[in-house]
Amino acid sequence: MRLEPIKKPTLARKLTPPAIALTTTIVIASLLAMVAGANPFNVIGLILKGSFGSTFAILETLNRATPLIFTGLAVAVAFRAKFWNIGAEAQLYAGALMTVLLGTGTLPWPSMAILPTIIIASILAGAIVLLVPALLKTRFGVDEVVTTLLFNFIFLLFISMLLEGVLKDPMGMGWPKSARLIPEARLPRIVDGLRLHWGFGLAIFSAVCIWIIQTRSTLGYEMRAVGLNKEAAAFAGIPVNIVILKTALLSGGLAALAGFSEVAGLKGSLTLDLSPGFGYTGIIVAMLALLNPLGVVLAALFVAGIFVGADSMSRAADVPTYLADIMLATALLLMVLAILLTRFRVVRE
C-alpha cells in the first residue's frame, strides 16, 4: 500500500475519518464494559450523565479540565517545535512545590501581591525544570524524550523526600503532606457557592495568549519553522537552539501553572497524589487538539468529561475506572490515523 496526498479534500473526506474514529472508540468502550458485566448500550449515556448531566457534574468536569488545559498547552507548544516534552508531570510538581514554598508561611508582601508573585515564581520553577533537558539537547545532543521521562521519576522522588522531610506538615498526623496555604495564597472561586476556581479562568486566558503568540508573533513563527524543518530554519537565519530553549521555557512554565492551580485553587496543600498523570494526559489533549491552543480547551473538556463520567459510570455500573484510560488511548491512536486519512488516500499496489 502507498499513501497519496489528496489535493483538495472534500468536506465529507475531512469529517468521515474522525467520525469513524470516535464511533469505533465508543463501540470498543461499550464492548469492554459488556465484558465487565455492564449493559453496553448504557455506558456512554452514563458517562455523559456523570460528566455533563448536572451543574455539579459540569463544575467537576471544568475543574478536572483546568490542569489538563495547562499541560495540554505545555505539550502543544513544545510539540509544535518538535521538542518532545514528555515531562509535564515533573514541571507540574515544580509549580506546585513553588506554590507551597511561598504560600504557606507569612509573606512580607501586601496580600494583593501574593498571588501574582506565586504565579510568576511557579512559572519560573517549571521553566527551569524543563530548561535542564533542553540544554542537554542543545549542548550535548541528548534526546529529550528519555531525559524528560526520567526527570518525572526523579522529581517525584524529590517531592516525596521533601514531603517526608522539611516540608512535612507537623499537624498532618504523620501523612507526607505539606502545610496548608494561607488564605491570601488561595485562588478565589469564580462564583460564590459554586465549586469552580479562578484557575479555570487563568487556563482560558493562557490558551488565548498562546494562540496569539503562535499566530501573531515572531517567536510563534520561528517555533513553527523549527518544527517543520530544522535545517531550513537554520538556513533562513533562525537561531534554532535559542528557539528550542525559549520553547522549553514557555512549555515548562505552562505545565507548572497546572500544579499551581491545583494547589492554590483546589487542594490547598501539596501531596504526592496531586496529579493522577495530568502531565501524560496533556499529551493526549494536545494531540486531539491538533496542537491548536484554542483546540486544547475543547480537547481538555472532552478528556476531563471522559474521566469524570467514567468515575461515576464505574460506580453506577461496577466497571473498572481504567476504562477511561483505554478510551483515551484508543481515541488518541484512532484520531491520529483518522487525521492522516483526511489528507491522504490509501492506494493499493
Binding site: 499513501l3 465487565a36 534526546d143 528519555v146 521519576f153 493526549i284 481504567y322 483505554i326 488511548a329
Partner: protein, 314 residues
Amino acid sequence: MEIIDILFTASFWAAAIRIASPLIFATLGELICERAGVLNLGIEGIMVAGAFAGWMAVYSGTALWTGVCVAMLVGMLFGLLHSTLTVPFGLSQHVVGLGITLLATSSTYYAYRLALPEVTSPPKIAAFQPYEIPILSDIPLLGPALFSQTPLTYLAFILVGVVSLVLYRTPLGLAVRAAGENPAAVAAQGLSVTAIRMGAVMVGSGLMAVGGAFLTMSAFDSFFFEMVNGRGWICIALVVFGSWRPGKALLGAILFAAFDALQIRVQQTSLGTHVPYQIFLMMPYILSILALILMSRRAQVPAALMVPFNKGER
C-alpha cells in the same frame, strides 16, 4: 569500607545479574526496533502487559514456558498495532508509542481488575526457580553470581548472542540494519521495507513483553501495579548507551543493574541511615541521564531512525 566489601560478595553480583535480566530482554527488543528505524515508546506499556499476561497464564494453570510464550504473543500483538500505525501509515512514532504505552497499561489494569475483582493482596504463582549449572556453578564468586540463576536469565544472555549473530552475520540482519540506515537501498534490492520494519517491531515488542514477564515469573511471583516503574524508559537509555550494539547494551544493563543492587545494599549500611531513601531510588534514573550525556556525542544513531519510508517518494 563497607561498600568495597559489598562488591566482593557473590550475592551482590547474583542480584545484579537478576536485576539486569528484564532490562536485557527489553533493551534487545528496543534495539531491534530502532535498528530497523522505528523508535518504540510502547516499551513501558508492553512490559506491563507482558508481566501480566505471562503471570495470568500461569495463574490460570498453564506451564511456565507457555506463560512466557503467551507474554511474547501479547507483546507481538501490541507490536503489530504499533508498526501498522508507524510503518505503512508513517504516523508520529512518539505519539503512537506513548499511545501504545497508555493502551497496554490501562487494558492490563482493566483485565487485572476483571480477572481478580476481590483480592487485597495479589495471588502468587510457582515462579521459575534458580537452576545451578553443574561444575560452572562451583566456581568461586562467579559461579553463584552467573550460574545459579533462573532459566529466563540464561535465556536473556543467550539471546544477546543470537541477536548479535543474526544482526551482523545473516542476510536478514543486514536487511534489518539497512532498513534503519538506508531504506531506499533496501527497496532498490526488491525487499519490502514495510515488511522488514513491521517484523522487527513485532519481534522487538515480543522481547519487551518477555522482559516484563521476567518480573512476575522469575524475579517475583505475583503481579503488582506500577511494577515496571520506568524500566522501559531506562531500556531506551540503555540502547543509546550501548550505541545500538547488543554486546555493549548487555554491558550497560549489567553496569546499571550493579549500581541498582549497590544502592539497595548501601541503604542498609550506616551511610543509608543518614541519607533519605529517595536519594538512593533516584540513582538509577540519574545514572541513565548521565550515561546519555556521556554517550550521546559518540553515538552511532541509525540514520533513518524515526524517518518514515514511503516508496516512490524521493
